[in-house]
Amino acid sequence: MYWQLTSSGHLPDEYDVAVIEGAATTGEHIETLRKVRETAAVVIALGTCAVTGGIPALAGTLDYDARYGVVYGDGIAVARGRQVPVPVTSVIAVDYQVPGCPIDPAEFVKVLSRALMGLKDAIPVDPMCAICKTEENICFLDQGKACLGLVTRTGCGAKCVSLSRPCTGCRGLSPEANLPAARRVYADKGLDPAELDRLFDLYNAAREVVL
């Protein structure tokens, strides 16, 4: 196993499985990703930042340079080649994704097993409500509280809602999500439909660029 943060050893020329965490935030990251894609048999994007851009991608929703100045001040030396943070999945094709902030280690083990066996990705595609119902959670929307489970990719077991926290969409948009219908649900429940999109930005500001 090679892990650059923990070792200064020379990186190998080829990998069986490359597991990549984090959003790409510099030009160097982009180059590294492309190189990894060329030299790795299997690429796994691990965690929300790698899969959807996560919270870092929020930086790109308005004027990125101006925001940088607000946070770090003017004239501060910054990372060379910095750019709007983007998910790994928008730069290279990945073979498997493990979304979640934080990830579920059991899901990671399952994905890694699939990768080792050469099985294709089996990431769930449906929204969250079904599993939330099987957990017998009391629906936040029914209480007039915003929850993103109705459009978020399932697979976490609705852990947050089971712990009395509304879903914040950290697993990304379900490919089967019906966004117009979900906005209508918000309106029916007395919520602002625009709130759905605004809240969803927290982990999914870069959803337009995800491959």
Partner: protein
Amino acid sequence: MFFRVIDKARLPDLVKGLATEYEVIAPIAKGEQFVYAAVTDPADMRLDYDTTLLPPKRFFFPSEETLMRFRVADNEVLDDEVYAAPRVLFGLHPCDINALLLMDNVFSGKYEDPYYLRRREQTLLIGISCTPSETCFCNVWDTNEVHWGFDVFLTDLGDRYFASCRTVKGAEILDRFVENRQVTDQDTTDFQSVVHGFKNSFKRVADTTQLPVLLDAKFDSPIWDEFGDRCLSCGACSMVCPTCYCFDVEDRLEPDQKSGVRVRTWDSCQFKEFAAVAHGQNFRESRASRVKYRYYHKQWGYLSKFERVLCVGCGRCARACPAGITPENVIAALQTGEVR
């Protein structure tokens, strides 16, 4: 059937007695709603509940269960025992008992399901009378009454219960665990008064006239597109349905890939992958077709095979659907051609 009368104040004795030999599952409060859960103290039971978040089907057909463990090298089955401890489900409403009878048709018969049936054998059912809630419409399908499928059914007469014993076992547990007496003419008169009052107290009346014909005749109706546009494809309706029985089966290998488990989980016909087959073909590609076939199966497909509709009017799907797609709306839309 034979009958007993139990003083209301004595009911906890029955629960305590049952708890010495069975796991007792009964409705308890969860926030302002209710769930079935194991109880040891009868005071935790809420027999005044309206409905539960999940129906009792999960005690026979869990949302996730291991069917067997296997070894990869020689395909040997290591363990396929059905572990089912003796249980009592206490406080089921008529709709939910009727729902189990509908499930029985599917899990027994030509293809017996040992997992479901073993748990069914090991479980006593004690029903209780109810008061219709805002979303109840069991009266529409005549599932507000139940005549078999339970061991004891308790009808609340105010200060006492009129206990109908459907099985010998049901009469035995009453005689063993709770003080009871024979039924008098007055008890029967009061029973009649209560059940008539119940029957007349329903607020919901759906027009189900010739529903199977309408489903066929309006197969291409634009109402399905409208419901499809509204549907979130979240599957909440299937999960909370006491009669939805579809499941998925998956083999999960241990990380060492030497052994694994075969697991079955609840599935939903509202999921895109539900009808996907090899080569990428999908028989239910559109949301509209998935919503349509849900109703088609419940109100016509099952009816044509088992002479009952696959709905007991419990109202759980009406409560659970974030998008407000309810059987009442769908049936009304079929009658009028308009989606409200």
